[in-house]
């Protein structure tokens, strides 16, 4: 399978703080790849660097073979990488419909937008029910679905999800993960960041463990799940 994303020696600094010390990572087309790690390990930083929201100090980010380091975020979105950021970040005073349409901002073809909207409503029927409602009044789980749906509206080839389970009830987390798998089966490659390592690894083809700016381990999702070190550090010793 072809590599859709390849990161080589990525370094990111926040002032004097070195957030990423040169990480290597790759995602193959059609896969679900997970990045696990504790708070402050640099997971979100990695995603934000790929999206062009934070500046890359050094290294290469190759998307379908093209280096996208230094490109603006709107260029990166147009070229097929969309991030559903941590904490949902929906537009609270817009309706659900308007939020979804913002996701489709870079898509020129109206017919395609209408078709994607149908698909998103098919995945998240609750969003269709709440279409006219102001997004700020949705529940946490619904807002998360809206954030994922909004990201899908841009028809990304690589969808990045930053902590989609954050702050949600266990039952809803299960539902979200099932939907992530369904989106993947429909043909979207997924890069996932999670603190809920067990859930994330169980649906992933491949995983990376990030510790304070370095990748310390990598392997197939199932292998990482059975690794004693990973179990002790991230799976609560189960």
């Amino acid at each position: 399978m072809a590599e859709i994303l390849k990161i080589e020696g990525l370094k990111v600094n926040y002032g004097n703080i070195k957030a990423l010390h040169g990480i290597d990572l790759k995602v193959e087309e059609g896969q679900i790849v997970t990045l696990i790690g504790s708070n402050g390990a640099g997971k979100s930083t990695t995603m934000n660097a790929i999206s062009g929201i934070v500046k890359t100090a050094e290294g290469k980010i190759l998307f379908e073979g093209k280096d996208i380091v230094g490109k603006s975020s709107d260029y990166i979105v147009k070229n097929g990488i969309v991030l559903a950021p941590e904490g949902r970040q929906i537009f609270p005073r817009m309706s659900v419909h308007e939020n979804l349409m913002m996701g489709a901002l870079t898509v020129k073809d109206k017919g395609k937008v209408a078709k994607t909207l149908e698909e998103v409503f098919d995945l998240f029927p609750i969003l269709k029910e709440r279409e006219k409602q102001v997004a700020g009044t949705l529940s946490g789980g619904e807002q998360q679905m809206l954030a994922v749906g909004r990201a899908l509206m841009g028809s990304p080839r690589l969808l990045m999800l930053d902590e989609p389970s954050l702050g949600l009830a266990p039952l809803i987390i299960k539902e979200i993960f099932a939907l992530i798998q369904r989106i993947n089966k429909m043909g979207t490659t997924i890069l996932l960041v999670e603190q809920n390592a067990k859930m994330a690894l169980s649906i992933s083809d491949y995983g990376y463990v990030l510790e304070t700016g370095d990748i310390t381990m990598e392997g197939k999702g199932s292998d990482l799940m059975n690794d004693p070190k990973v179990r002790a550090a991230y799976l609560g010793g189960m």
């Binding site: 999206s51 062009g52 929201i53 603006s72 975020s73 709107d74 979105v77 147009k78 969309v82 991030l83 950021p85 970040q89 929906i90 537009f91 609270p92 005073r93 817009m94 308007e98 349409m101 913002m102 996701g103 901002l105 870079t106 102001v134 700020g136 009044t137 909004r150 841009g154 702050g167």
Partner: protein, 267 residues
């Protein structure tokens, strides 16, 4: 306009408004036809609005400046523009050529002039057009997205710099129209017009609810009516104080204004 998108009070706005009045006044005095003077005025203001953002504010955005720094930068631009106007046009008031006939007519007990009717119609038309732009177009949606969450807007593929510059351009073009109307109404433009009007519009905007277009219009009319009533019934000497008294009360009692949205904060 700019406040709605950036939550930034643009102090340069009143100077742009003044610039609009001056350019039109000088163009008319020079014998240009009205339509050309209007286009020239709007064009100049739009250009300066765009430059304000590109030269003063965009470099600050790149470095992640704090909100207060932007505010101070717009005050700086305002001072610069005022002095530029003084340098180019001189410090004396410039007469504004009469465009509308002075004839007045009675509506019930009120005296109206054609200019007043025209002003009201133009205001409504511009308000309608601006609302349409903000609520029905892609660039309008991008503006609202930036206002609500700038990072998320970027992640949707909004070119934030372009949209913000466009917002400045549009706001400045509207300020030019206001400057021209001011000139037509008072038959002259001077260096004080920016400050007084700027302060009063600020009070109106707060009363109507900052960032709300209909709020700005209702707020403006309310302050104007209150001022006239105060001048008629109490004292005309202190009529300029009315706006500020209202401002203080609104901030104390209902800081979001008449049409302002209360912030939805949900975790």
């Amino acid at each position: 306009m700019v406040f709605g998108v950036l939550e930034l009070t643009n102090f340069a706005h009143s100077s742009i408004f003044m610039l609009g009045g001056y350019v039109a006044a000088v163009a008319l005095r020079g014998g240009l036809p009205l339509w050309l003077a209007v286009i020239l005025s709007i064009g100049t203001c739009a250009l300066f609005g765009m430059l304000t953002d590109r030269l003063a504010l965009m470099p600050m955005r790149k470095r992640g400046a704090s909100r207060v720094s932007y505010l101070i930068a717009t005050i700086g631009v305002s001072t610069f523009l005022q002095n530029l106007i003084m340098l180019v046009f001189g410090s004396e008031a410039i007469p504004f050529k009469e465009v509308f006939p002075r004839t007045q007519f009675m509506v019930g007990n009120a005296v109206m002039s054609y200019l007043q009717v025209f002003t009201i119609l133009l205001t409504l038309a511009l308000m309608g057009a601006t609302s349409l732009l903000v609520y029905k177009t892609k660039i309008g949606a991008s503006m609202r997205a930036i206002a609500q969450n700038q990072t998320a807007a970027k992640l949707m593929g909004v070119n934030t710099d372009l949209v913000i510059t466009f917002t400045f351009l549009l706001g400045s073009a509207l300020a030019a129209v206001a400057g021209i109307m001011f000139g037509m109404y008072y038959y002259s433009v001077d260096l004080q017009m920016g400050f007084t009007v700027g302060m009063k519009t600020f009070a109106s905007a707060v009363l109507g609810g900052i960032g709300s277009l209909p709020g700005a219009v209702v707020g403006g009319f309310s302050i104007g009516i209150l001022e006239s009533m105060f001048a008629g019934y109490v004292s005309s000497g202190f009529k300029d104080a009315v706006g500020f008294i209202v401002l203080i009360f609104v901030l104390l009692i209902r800081p979001s204004g008449l049409f302002g949205q209360k912030k939805i904060s949900k975790v």
